[in-house]
Symmetry: C2
Subunit: 307 residues, 2 copies
C-alpha cells in the first residue's frame, strides 16, 4: 500500500567527529521516503528550490519514489547546518535557512489521493493538519514533531495529534509534551491527546512502543526494540526519520495490524536507523540492498532474543 | 553452586521524589546477595558495626544467605546518605562514613572455601584482589567497580581486572575506564585488560553484554537486555547490585556456560534490577517470591521478542 509523506527535502551541511560534509541531500521527507521505499511505494510532498536538480532527483528515482508532489519554486531549498562534535545524540544548529520552505503550501497531486497511509514528517503543525484534513480517507496516519513545535506551537500541535494514529518522537519530546518526567506516565498522557500508539526513540538505546487503542486487547502493553551497538557513528542526521520510514514502511506493506506486525515494524525501524548513521546524509541508505536489510533484521533478533 | 560475595553491608539514608527513608539496610553485598539468593546459595564476606543487629540479620536469614563471613567490629557500620531529587539515574552523595569499613580486612571462612563462584562487589580494588588471590580455585569470578576507583586507583583496579572473568559496570564507567567515548570500542579495550565478558548497564535502558573469550565462537557478539518501562521508580539505590545478583546468581545455578544461559542471565539481571527500584532499600526484594521473578521474566520476554 502506498504511503504519502509530507515534509522537508533539504540540503544539510554536517560536521561530526568523522568529518565535515557540505550540502548533503537531507530533510525529514527524504530520509523517511528512502527508508520506507524498501518496503512499499512512497510518494513525497515537499518544495525545493532551483538548487535541487537531476542529481538529487536521481536519489529518489533510484528507489522508485514518486516525486511528482515535489514542487519546484524559485529560490533556494531549505538549508540546515549543524554539528555533533561534543555529543552524537544532540545536534548543535549553526544555521537554518527556510528559503522556499518559508512559503510552503502543500499540494496533494491527484495521483496521490488513493494513498492508504500518510506520514506527517516534522514540519509546522498547521501544514501537517492541512494535509491530514485533505486526505480524510487514509487508513493509518503517523507523524513526527520536535521540541520547537511543542514549546511554541502547542495548540496547533494538539490539533494534529487528534487526527494521528501513531506519533513517533524521542524521550525528551515525550516528557516535554506531557509535562511529566516519567516516561510511562508521559506516554499515557500523550496518547490521551489522540495517538493510539506512541513510539519513543532513545537514540543509541533503541526505542519503546507504547500501545494504546491501536490493537484490541493490547492497550497498556509495551515493546522495546534495541539499537545496534555501533563501532562508529558517522552522522546521526536523519536516523529518526529513517527509523520512522522503516517502521511505517513495513506497516504499510502488511495487510493487517497485529502485535507481531507492530513488533516487527519496531525492529525494521531500528534496522533502518542503524544503517542511516553509518555514512553522511543519505549515502548509506541510498546504496543499501534489501538483502542487507534482512540480514540486519536477523542480527537484531540475535541481539535481543533468548534462543 | 555457591557464590561468595565480598562487599559492603551498610545503612543508607535515601531521599527520592517518592520520599525519604532513614538508615535502610543497604550496601552492595546486601543487594547482590538478596538478588542472587533466588537462584543459588550465597555466602557474604563483609564487616558491620554494633548497629547491625538481629533485625538486619533476619533479612539475610530469611533468604537463607550464609552470613558467617560478616565480621562484627566495634563502632558503626558503613553509612551513606544520598538523594536522587533531580535525576533518578544519578545519586547526589551527602555523606559517606566508612566507620568500621575503613579498616576492613576481608577474612574468608573455611566453610566458604569450596565456593565455585566469586563476586567482588564495589570496594577498594586492593581488597578485591586480596580476596581473589585467596580463592584461586573458583570457577568464575565477576566484579563491579565505580568511577572513584577508576579515576584515582587505576593501577590497583587493573590488577583486579586481570583476574576477572566478567566485569559489570555502567556506560560512563566503561568509557572512563577505556578513555574512549564509543561504547563498542571502549568495551573491547576494557576486555583487553582481562575480563572475558563485559556487562554495561544503561539504567532505565537496560544493559548490553559484550562477549569476549568467555565462549568459543561467540567472541565479538553482543546481547541487549531491556529494562522494564516503570510507572514509578521509588529508589534506584542497589539496582545495579541487584542486576549483578540476578545475573551471576542465575549463572551459578546452571551447569555450563552457553549462549542461551548467558542471555537468560542478562534477563534475570534486568528482572532483579526492576524489582529493586520499586521500594526503598531492600524492601521489595526481601519480600519477593520466585513466582514473581518468573512472571517478570516472561514479561521481559514479551517486551522484547517478536513472537
Amino acid at each position: 500500500m502506498a504511503i504519502t509523506v509530507v515534509g522537508s527535502v533539504a540540503f544539510d551541511t554536517i560536521e561530526t567527529p568523522a568529518g565535515r560534509k557540505e550540502r548533503c541531500l537531507g530533510g525529514a521527507a527524504t530520509h523517511f521516503s528512502l527508508a520506507a521505499s524498501f518496503f512499499t511505494d512512497v510518494r513525497v510532498i515537499a518544495v525545493v528550490g532551483e538548487d535541487f536538480g537531476p542529481e538529487q532527483e536521481a536519489v529518489f528515482k533510484a528507489r522508485s519514489i514518486d516525486i511528482r508532489g515535489i514542487e519546484h519554486a524559485s529560490g533556494k531549498s531549505f538549508f540546515w547546518e549543524g554539528s555533533y562534535l561534543d555529543n552524537l545524540n544532540e545536534a548543535r544548529t549553526h544555521a537554518t535557512e527556510l528559503n522556499v520552505f518559508g512559503a510552503f503550501q502543500p499540494k496533494i497531486p491527484d495521483e496521490y489521493r488513493d494513498s492508504e497511509y500518510l506520514f506527517l514528517a516534522n514540519i509546522d503543525p498547521v501544514l501537517q493538519k492541512r494535509v491530514r484534513d485533505a486526505m480524510p480517507n487514509v487508513k493509518l496516519v503517523a507523524g513526527d514533531t520536535m521540541n520547537y513545535w511543542i514549546k511554541d506551537h502547542k495548540p496547533a500541535l494538539l490539533e494534529v495529534l487528534k487526527g494521528l494514529d501513531i506519533l513517533l518522537i524521542n524521550d525528551t519530546e515525550t516528557k516535554m509534551l506531557a509535562g511529566n518526567n516519567n516516561l510511562v506516565q508521559a506516554a499515557r498522557e500523550v496518547m490521551s491527546y489522540g495517538p493510539r500508539m506512541l513510539v519513543t526513540k532513545h537514540g543509541e538505546y533503541g526505542a519503546t512502543a507504547f500501545f494504546g487503542a491501536i490493537l484490541n486487547g493490547f492497550n497498556g502493553k509495551t515493546f522495546r526494540a534495541p539499537a545496534l551497538p555501533l563501532e562508529e557513528v558517522v552522522d546521526p542526521t536523519g536516523a529518526g526519520d529513517s527509523f520512522a520510514g522503516g517502521f511505517f514502511g513495513y506497516l504499510a506493506s502488511q495487510p493487517t495490524l497485529t502485535p507481531s506486525v507492530l513488533r516487527s515494524a519496531m525492529f525494521y525501524g531500528s534496522v533502518m536507523g542503524s544503517f542511516a548513521v553509518e555514512r553522511f546524509g543519505t549515502e548509506r541508505i541510498a546504496q543499501l540492498t534489501r538483502k542487507e536489510v534482512d540480514e540486519r533484521f536477523t542480527q537484531f533478533r540475535e541481539l535481543t532474543h533468548l534462543d
